[in-house]
Symmetry: C2
Subunit: 284 residues, 2 copies
């Protein structure tokens, strides 16, 4: 018997551990909901892969989660949100699909007075300008600057979210921003990579108090809550929600690095290892 839609888990998908910051924000807001997280660690990072590869991997991941049974899919990966969201919505309909780019863009536009935004992302997300498009759809006169800050990913994964290396990297990337004339200074900085909430303090210290930081992990969680309410999909029973973690490779590393992202210790034994990819011909 298929469970009523309300009782199914929310599916969350990322290329690796980064999306655990979104999972963390979801658990804060929705402690009763069951959550099923899939990290496609066998294929990470998506950011350096071609558009075709990212779309294929994302489609496999979404298909695998749908087969398990989910009531909503969160694409907690900026690259997949930028490149594959429309295709995933078509593939999963009528199951709703929420990416991380649109909620971050909406929050930034709502918070900005200056209509000037700075997006911090990986090099590949920045080059694809997905946040620029999403912001311009809401505020056509906005100025959007997307800045690749790939070293932040390595620092988050190393556990160096604070301290001298994070401070030096934040200063190297962002030190000149608060020194700009007021008329050229952004008033929001969007953390456009799921790893970056871990470096929020180092980033905020360099940017100073006049630039509001928009954390796309928490804005995405807010969007999920709103969508569940809109569709009447909140879980009826009040039992504490379960959490299931699935990875496609290297569960030991997933556990070591991921614990900091989730804000909770877990081990490789807590992670289900799976193979999400169907038969492929000439697979890259």
């Amino acid at each position: 018997m298929v469970a009523a839609a309300q009782e199914q888990p929310i599916g969350i998908f990322d290329s690796g551990v980064g999306g655990l910051t979104v999972l963390h924000a979801l658990r804060d807001r929705l402690p009763d909901e069951d959550l099923l997280y899939l990290g496609d660690t066998a294929r990470l990072p998506y950011g350096t892969k071609s558009e075709e590869s990212v779309q294929r991997y994302a489609s496999h991941a979404a298909g695998w989660l749908r087969q398990r049974g989910i009531k909503l899919l969160v694409v907690a990966c900026n690259t997949a949100s930028a490149l594959a969201l429309d295709a995933l919505r078509a593939q999963l309909a009528p199951v709703p699909v929420i990416g991380v780019v649109e909620p971050g863009a909406q929050a930034a536009v709502a918070l900005s007075h200056a209509h000037r935004h700075l997006v911090l992302a990986t090099e590949s997300t920045a080059a694809r300008r997905a946040y620029t498009r999403a912001i311009h759809a809401l505020d056509p006169v906005a100025k959007v600057e997307e800045l690749g800050c790939s070293v932040f990913v390595a620092l988050a994964e190393e556990g160096w979210s604070n301290g001298p290396v994070a401070a030096a990297a934040a200063a190297a990337y962002l030190g000149s921003v608060p020194e700009r004339p007021a008329a050229e200074r952004p008033d929001t900085a969007i953390l456009g990579c799921t790893h970056f909430p871990l470096l929020r303090e180092a980033i905020a210290t360099v940017l100073g108090p006049d630039i509001t930081i928009v954390d796309s992990a928490s804005t995405t969680a807010d969007a999920v809550v709103a969508r569940l309410d809109e569709l009447g999909l909140r879980k009826a029973s009040a039992a504490t929600g379960s959490l299931q973690l699935v990875a496609t490779d290297s569960p030991a590393r997933f556990a070591t690095v991921g614990s900091a992202f989730l804000g909770e210790r877990f081990t490789a034994d807590d992670i289900e290892l799976t193979d999400i990819h169907p038969l492929e011909i000439g697979a890259r």
Copy 2:
């Protein structure tokens, strides 16, 4: 007609751009030789993948290079050298296969008086202890410490090989090493990741003059020269060697990042894009 073995290129294989430091060292020593470099950028990084995945990817890459025709294979990837070298030697025989781990270990043992070595590597290479095994095969009493320094990879790829972030990262990883009592201090530091030669200066500044840095890119190139001479495989004609670069994905990024590694500017148009992987069932 198959070209005489001497006239075939040397094949070099890595998961991405890192092996270009080995290619650079090979071109310095062997300017007449033709070189064919394959970066499996569709699957990088190998370091976080399972042993089975790495062996499969390495086997595909080696098979693809053999089909093109090579007289010697350099596995310019520490992870593949650590996990797949024996299998690749069996697969490619009689074509000789040289990895990066053994030449680095040999050079370190030859240079050390203290029998104490520090290996700087990615987290996954360090965990696999391939350098420890290779050094112990030559010097059973040696003390070997392997230290994961994954942030160095991101710094090299960002072009931050020098400057305040590299200095802070080198100090964070290595600052305590020169402060140890002399009887506990290593006297060699092996750059056990093909990215790390770019950070040699930042690393050497922190380690100080009493610790000799062993660059496995240049020691591997020396090993290739010795093997070609031993087998009579040096190219007979004295024409300047050709260089062919092949990647499995994202040639634009390969060109941007790779130019610093090779020490020479090239563009995406200089790179052949290929798909090296045969039919796979249930591919991860």
